[in-house]
């Protein structure tokens, strides 16, 4: 073979190789991964602005974290500056869900969580910095007693059959009412000295000492999944589930109630068809389930402690509310482990007023702050600011509607 042929063959081999270098490979990306950024700006939801003192609700030190579409989470939280802004840096190219959380502490045991999130925020490493604006809103967990309508309609007929308790699911997940119990603890004192309140744990055994009655939801406590309550759903538990307006025009329609309190041993307690029962738990009790028109205590438990004779295990309590028409002179009836305040101060019998949480599910374990009096019952929905009751200027009562968190 001649030298020229050798050169030709050699060149062919090398050229083929070079062609494959270009043909097989891809161009190396010029940008390195991990240099993406997102600017986060924190504000407040309008409901939070309505109910919370703006001087207290600072937007610095808000904890911000991220979750990307592949399930990766931030290894450490970021915190906003005094303007409520923070830059999330060192991100890799992806779409992100940004979560923000701020816990406000108002005295001992009063922690209020506000949070917000924003999804599908896309950033590309070494690209433009997108801005993500998040408004914080109040966060609650567990089923809440959202409204108690106990005072009766505004009438001279002493009508009170339209009482009800409204529950609410503030979570993002479905919860279940199976086997839960609503206990009526009552604002009573024990019959023996030193005449301590029923709703306290006077003997230190971890129980609310006594309750007068209790209604249990159908289903199996804790594990049952037959009676769901969807996220954001209100559940109306009526003493008598009918349209009460046919008997009292100023009353309310409860014919669409979700549950009715029912005592099969009470001959005058009708069982309305089509409406599931919250059945009286106390054996031998023959009276109808009703709410006190003045002062009372109700607790909602998970149903794990059905032995009411030794009290109610506080660890089983999901929520509890004490309401009173006036500030008690002596003592509080419900243990502060469940409720540190009172709702309904100022309500008079048969004035058509109701008490409801300021935001659905809002719960700081202090009903003084958590509830407000509203001008009419709102079964199955939340009142608006226009529904808030304002007492007469010359009223000689303590108005707590404006006694908010400071």
């Amino acid at each position: 073979m001649r030298v020229g042929e050798i050169k030709y063959l050699s060149l062919s081999v090398l050229l083929t190789g070079l062609l494959l270098v270009n043909g097989c490979g891809k161009k190396k990306p010029t940008s390195s991964e991990g240099f993406g950024s997102i600017m986060v700006k924190i504000g407040f939801d309008i409901t939070a602005r309505t109910f919370i003192d703006p001087d207290t609700m600072r937007i610095d030190s808000v904890e911000v974290t991220w979750l990307d579409i592949y399930g990766r989470r931030s290894k450490h939280p970021y915190y906003t500056n005094s303007k409520g802004e923070v830059v999330l840096d060192s991100l890799f190219s992806s779409k992100y869900k940004i979560d923000a959380l701020r816990v406000y502490r108002f005295g001992e045991g009063q922690n209020v969580k506000f949070s917000g999130s924003m999804g599908s925020i896309a950033t590309v490493s070494m690209g433009d910095v997108p801005v993500c604006e998040i408004n914080l809103r109040y966060v609650a967990t567990g089923i809440k007693i959202n409204e108690i309508y106990f005072a009766g309609p505004s009438t001279n007929e002493l009508y009170y059959d339209d009482q009800y308790i409204e529950l609410y699911n503030p979570e993002d997940d479905t919860l279940y009412l199976d086997g839960m119990v609503i206990y009526r603890v009552t604002a009573n004192l024990l019959s023996q000295e030193p005449y301590q309140p029923w709703g306290q744990d006077n003997d230190g055994d971890g129980d609310i000492d006594k309750a007068i009655s209790g209604g249990q939801f159908p289903g199996t406590p804790l594990t049952g999944r037959e009676w769901p309550i969807a996220p954001g759903q209100f559940v109306v538990c009526a003493c008598t589930p009918i349209d009460h307006r046919q008997y009292c025009p100023t009353s309310v329609d409860l014919s669409q109630a979700d549950f009715e309190f029912y005592n099969p041993l009470c001959t005058r307690d009708a069982d309305y068809p089509g409406i599931p029962n919250i059945t009286e738990l106390y054996k031998g009790r023959t009276t109808i389930f009703m709410l006190s028109l003045g002062s009372d205590v109700y607790v909602l438990t998970d149903g794990s402690d059905l032995n009411y004779t030794d009290g109610i295990d506080i660890s089983s309590v999901v929520d509890g509310v004490e309401y009173r028409s006036s500030v008690p002179a002596i003592m509080k009836y419900l243990t502060p482990l469940v409720d540190q305040g009172y709702a309904g101060i100022g309500i008079q019998k048969y004035n058509g007023l109701s008490i409801e949480r300021i935001i659905p599910g809002y719960d700081t374990n202090n009903s003084t702050n958590d509830f407000e009096i509203i001008t009419h019952p709102t079964p199955g929905y939340q009142h608006t600011p226009a529904d808030v009751w304002h007492p007469p200027v010359d009223a000689k009562i303590v108005n707590l509607n404006f006694h908010r968190i400071k």
């Binding site: 050798i6 083929t16 097989c24 190396k28 940008s31 991964e33 890799f92």
Partner: protein, 513 residues
């Protein structure tokens, strides 16, 4: 007999399936040198010479390496078992294969060669791995905990059962002299590995490999030969999963960039396209000193495509680098002693692309270095003894651009080989050898696996028969490895060991001298 073999060989060529042999195929040299403790540097063997074909892998020189026609059949059986194993390795591995390779010369200027091999792999008590070579994914693209999510919700391949592979391996080549000092050649190889695990999640894999090798060689003088070669290869692995009605998730992990793919059935396709091109050279100073040199450019890329959803894009990896190798043999004092040495270096700089965005997820080099030195003593024509020492080091420093961490790893192996052969009869050789090795490894990339320091000892025995036109080699090996391995939680170091047993038998018949 010879006539029959010739007819058989010719038939093989004609039907194209029983293809011809590769002169430096593992089969021939494996049996003899294996039984002598892998003395690859100083024991000269017809399949392990320093020439452009045996050493340089340039097929153009095959016509000069193979001067006679021959055929060879053989079988091998390997068994290994023990706790010193990686997470995705089987508890017990049983491998066997049977092969036939041959060379057919057509005068001094043309040669055909090739082999056909059929193998059987039985990975016993394997968990979590549905890939044929889970650790051959050298780029770390897949979750080291296994192809499927073994610990979380969804699809779980945590049932220890057997994964068996079978398939053919075919190879053919041709080399010819086109002028007095110029040679060309080419080879083609095809291998199919079909694996089935008859257990939930019912994985079935097909691994197909095509290999080509084209070369040209020029002899400039009696002692100097230079060559150029180009070796593309293409592999594709298809993995079918069928979790049935239960469904599940497959975890995809690209250097820590992890996501899950919900599946009911799934087919994963892994494509690997690579090539190697460069030059080789050998030069000889008289009969006493022989040298070989290789410098090749390497290019590799890899794509993994699950083809499931929009969030499940193709994973792409690419790397390039070089392969450099030197080997020398110094024959001292007329067949009384040999001194051999070698140095090998593989360097690959790689990067991984973000499956969705045009950004790099990681980048960095990986390097392999290997040194060898040996001394052979030949007291008589009937006795050959030798010893070698080999040092191997793998080093990787990959920058993870997401975590800003360096994934580094260092693996070192130091081996001492000792062996020899003795002709105790007119036609029989007795062979023996041993290898002692120490393994050391460290680095942040290693905690993904569980193996730590270890040492191993191998004992080899062999018997060779050569008479006229027939060569029969038999080899037996036993290897025990003892070391430290992390427990299942990757917390506590525990003692671990693994035993291996190897058996080789080959019979070679020369058809013409």
């Amino acid at each position: 007999l010879l006539k029959t073999i010739k007819i058989l060989l010719l038939s093989s060529i004609l039907v194209g399936t029983l293809v011809l042999t590769l002169a430096n195929s593992i089969f021939g040299s494996q049996t003899r040198l294996f039984s002598m403790g892998d003395l690859m540097l100083i024991m000269e063997d017809e399949d392990n010479e320093i020439n452009l074909w045996d050493f340089g892998q340039n097929p153009a020189w095959a016509v000069m390496d193979q001067k006679v026609s021959w055929g060879r059949g053989g079988t091998s059986l390997d068994w290994e078992n023990g706790s010193y194993r990686r997470i995705l390795d089987p508890v017990t591995l049983l491998t066997s294969n049977s092969y036939f390779d041959a060379v057919k010369t057509f005068g001094p200027d043309k040669v055909f060669f090739g082999y056909v091999d059929y193998y059987y792999y039985d990975n016993q008590k394997i968990v979590g791995s549905v890939e044929k070579y889970p650790y051959a994914d050298e780029f770390g693209l897949l979750d080291s905990a296994g192809f499927v999510d073994a610990n979380k919700d969804g699809l779980i391949d945590n049932i220890a059962s057997d994964f068996t592979y079978t398939g053919p391996d075919l190879f053919a080549g041709h080399s010819r002299r086109i002028s007095k000092n110029t040679f060309i050649g080419g080879t083609v190889g095809y291998r199919l590995e079909h694996g089935v695990k008859r257990q939930y999640i019912w994985p079935e894999t097909y691994l197909r490999t095509f290999e080509f090798n084209f070369g040209i060689a020029q002899r400039f003088s009696r002692g100097l030969v230079l060559g150029l070669s180009f070796k593309p290869y293409d592999t594709q692995e298809r993995i079918d999963l069928d979790p049935g009605l239960q469904g599940g998730n497959v975890v995809k992990d690209v250097v820590g960039f992890q996501w899950r793919v919900p599946i009911s059935t799934m087919t994963r396709t892994t494509k690997n396209k690579s090539f190697e091109t460069g030059f080789q050279g050998t030069w000889q100073a008289g009969n006493s000193l022989v040298n070989g040199l290789i410098f090749n450019y390497l290019f590799k890329n890899l794509e993994i495509d699950d083809g499931q959803s929009d969030a499940d894009r193709v994973v792409y990896w690419q790397g390039d680098g070089y392969h450099f190798e030197y080997r020398g043999l110094w024959r001292l004092a007329a067949e009384v002693a040999n001194v051999g040495c070698s140095y090998k270096r593989n360097y690959l700089n790689s990067w991984t692309k973000n499956p969705i965005f045009d950004t790099r997820l990681d980048e960095g080099p990986a390097t392999e270095d290997q040194f060898g030195l040996g001394l052979g003593i030949f007291p008589s024509r009937s006795l050959r003894l030798g010893t070698e020492v080999h040092f191997y080091r793998y080093k990787e420093e990959i920058t993870d651009l997401i975590s800003r961490n360096i994934r580094d790893a260092r693996i070192e192996t130091l081996s001492f080989n000792l062996g020899g052969e003795y002709k105790f009869d007119k036609d029989f050789w007795l062979r023996a050898g041993s290898i002692y090795s120490e393994y050391d490894m460290e680095g942040s990339a290693l905690p993904e696996d569980r193996l730590r320091k270890a040492h191993s000892f191998a004992l080899r025995l062999g018997l060779g028969y050569s008479s006229g036109s027939a060569l029969i080699d038999f080899a037996l090996g036993y290897n025990v490895t003892k070391g430290d391995a992390l427990d299942a939680q990757h917390i506590v170091l525990t003692d671990a060991s693994r035993d291996k047993l190897n058996l080789f038998l080959s019979s070679k018949f020369f058809i013409s001298k």
